[in-house]
């Protein structure tokens, strides 16, 4: 709980629900007839409506990107390090829009919502939504807010994929596309991890083919496992060594510990938790399973797996960017092994081939894939510098 609100916080915020009656046609061919999107905004939209920035959420991100919902909150929104007065995404100058995507579980229409056709909750019948579908729904949100063109669309990981899709599908509506820790599409290894996560969930006896709510249960164990395997891919080896490796009586230097801190100070010679990293993963999985919907998790991983904007262009990503009219900033992080720098560089190469204006930063960071969510000084500095230019453009 914050005793007082930091000066660079957007403060106490409340989400808004936007209802859409116009049916949304999905890439799968299915249609969502009506839907709600949960949205938070920070800062003020200027008279020209030229200072709006869209934040595209990653896999578990929702509309609550910055600030606090109440003074009782233990933590601020998921990207509070980056959004606020005087922060890189400066709410003194920008109007920031953040949302929970369709299929999510934080209030926007998703598997836990009521299906108007059946009168009961969607569950596994909620259609598979893709990044393209999300961006189409986000464009309608922009229409509703009266925003013709975003000053910038920003996102990391799965959020970065939405940014890429914006630049391809709505070239005239984006001035700057900022993609962090992103890849042009998933590799077999990425998909393999997602499949392990899905199998964990669907194999849980409490899953009940996705209709677990009818049975008054959730596939808790499955969700935990899914989050645990996901979480491993978000951290780097070095981040884990750092996090769980202290100097001890026997091991004088923390760097020699390799992150093998013991939970109880000694080995148990049993199959319960021995090491801190185990209990950390259990805790992360546990917490996640209490807040995230299993069907939503399945949908999110599918959206990741299906993402490949080059499919419509003979596999040539540079052709996908042919009509893009924005400037691009891409950032990768040295220890990210989910989307390593080389994967981000594939996008940079495609943009160069397409003759687009692009900047690219390869940030030295120990934090792995998660680095884009953390206040890595070099990265924060670059975001600030870049967005200061955007700020000036918008002011002129």
């Amino acid at each position: 709980m914050p005793d007082f609100l930091p000066e660079d916080s957007v403060g106490i915020v409340s989400p808004q629900r936007f209802h859409f009656d116009e049916p949304l046609s999905l890439r799968s061919g299915k249609v969502i007839k009506t839907y709600d999107l949960m949205v938070e905004t920070y800062g003020e939209l200027n008279a020209e409506k030229s200072n709006a920035i869209l934040i595209c959420p990653a896999l578990s991100g929702d509309h609550h990107a910055a600030g606090y919902h109440s003074m009782d909150d233990k933590k601020p929104g998921w990207w509070d390090v980056c959004i606020g007065p005087g922060k890189p995404i400066d709410t003194n100058h920008f109007f920031v829009v953040s949302l929970n995507n369709l299929g999510g579980c934080a209030g926007s229409t998703g598997p836990a919502s009521i299906n108007p056709d059946t009168g009961t909750w969607y569950g596994p019948d909620f259609p598979v939504v893709t990044v393209r579908d999300w961006v189409n729904s986000q464009a309608r949100l922009a229409d509703r807010l009266g925003i013709q063109q975003w000053a910038a669309v920003i996102g990391g990981s799965l959020g970065g994929m939405q940014v890429m899709r914006w630049s391809i599908s709505y070239p005239e509506r984006v001035r700057h596309a900022i993609m962090l820790a992103v890849a042009p599409k998933l590799s077999a290894q990425n998909i393999a991890f997602n499949e392990v996560a899905r199998q964990s969930i669907t194999g849980d006896p409490d899953f009940h083919a996705g209709r677990y709510r009818d049975h008054g249960v959730i596939p808790k164990k499955g969700l935990m496992l899914a989050r645990m395997v996901g979480h491993i891919t978000y951290l780097s080896d070095s981040a884990m060594r750092e996090k769980f490796g202290k100097a001890t009586q026997e091991i004088k230097e923390a760097s020699l510990n390799l992150g093998r801190d013991l939970r109880a100070g000694k080995l148990s010679f049993g199959f319960d938790v021995d090491f801190q990293v185990e209990s950390y993963l259990h805790y992360q999985g546990e917490r996640f399973s209490e807040t995230f919907d299993a069907n939503s998790y399945l949908l999110m991983t599918k959206a990741l797996d299906y993402f490949d904007p080059s499919v419509d262009y003979d596999g040539d990503l540079s052709k996908a960017f042919a009509k893009s009219d924005c400037r691009f900033l891409l950032v990768s992080y040295s220890t990210d092994w989910r989307f390593p720098p080389e994967r981000t560089q594939e996008i940079v190469t495609a943009l160069l081939k397409a003759g687009k204006q692009v900047s690219y930063l390869d940030i030295e960071a120990d934090e792995g894939h998660d680095a884009f969510l953390l206040p890595v000084p070099r990265y924060m500095q670059a975001m600030t510098t870049y967005l200061n230019r955007v700020k000036q453009e918008v002011a002129n």
């Binding site: 190469t349 160069l352 204006q357 692009v358 900047s359 690219y360 670059a382 870049y386």
Partner: protein, 202 residues
């Protein structure tokens, strides 16, 4: 304005696409953008210099020249620039080949090691030259491939590179008839504008 920019900008066509290898703080690209309306991209590895580029609104790619330029398409730029960096790369010959592939024409500037001061330094002191202009000791210098004007002329001939213009200046980038008469002895900085298969006189 930096004196070398004054010389280089004459060779840049208005509105052209320019790639600056080792672009530093982006001042050359910013100058060309503001005065020649070029569309430029810089390559740089230093974090602070990259930040300076972003501050100027110059597009910059964090990339090590020594790892190649395979991510750039053939003839995707009008002019490829390499200022005061040739002597610091691992494979100057391969880099120049890549510049010729990517750009329709190229501009290279480098410190002329054939300058009389360098010669005199070695001749009289018997040590590698250290000066305000090139202030490094031999063991920690980034400059691992020094060459002279005559060396580079030979290199261009051997590699079938057409020198469109060669300008030689002192370390303040001042041009003079006497330097032009004895370029390898008197010039401190050489500035080459070159291409391959160039039909002279354009």
């Amino acid at each position: 304005m930096r004196a070398d920019l004054e010389i280089i900008q004459k060779w840049i066509k208005p509105g052209s696409r320019v790639l600056d290898l080792g672009c530093g703080d982006g001042s050359l690209l910013a100058y060309l953008r503001d005065n020649k309306h070029t569309i430029g991209i810089g390559l740089e590895i230093d974090n602070q210099k990259i930040d300076a580029c972003l501050h100027k609104g110059i597009d910059v790619i964090q990339q090590d020249l020594n790892k190649g330029l395979g991510n750039f398409e053939t003839h995707s730029f009008d002019t490829v620039l390499l200022t005061q960096t040739l002597q610091a790369v691992h494979y100057p010959d391969l880099l120049v080949e890549e510049m010729l592939r990517i750009g329709k024409n190229c501009i290279v500037t480098f410190p002329n090691f054939g300058n009389w001061k360098s010669r005199a330094y070695i001749a009289f002191k018997g040590r590698m030259p250290v000066s305000n202009f090139m202030p490094y000791q031999w063991y920690d210098t980034p400059n691992i491939h020094f060459c002279t004007v005559r060396d580079f002329d030979d290199f261009c001939r051997a590699k079938n590179i057409d020198v469109i213009t060669r300008t030689v200046v002192d370390n303040k980038h001042r041009d003079s008839a006497i330097i032009r008469a004895f370029p390898n002895l008197l010039s401190e900085i050489a500035i080459y504008h070159f291409a391959r298969g160039h039909q002279g006189g354009k």
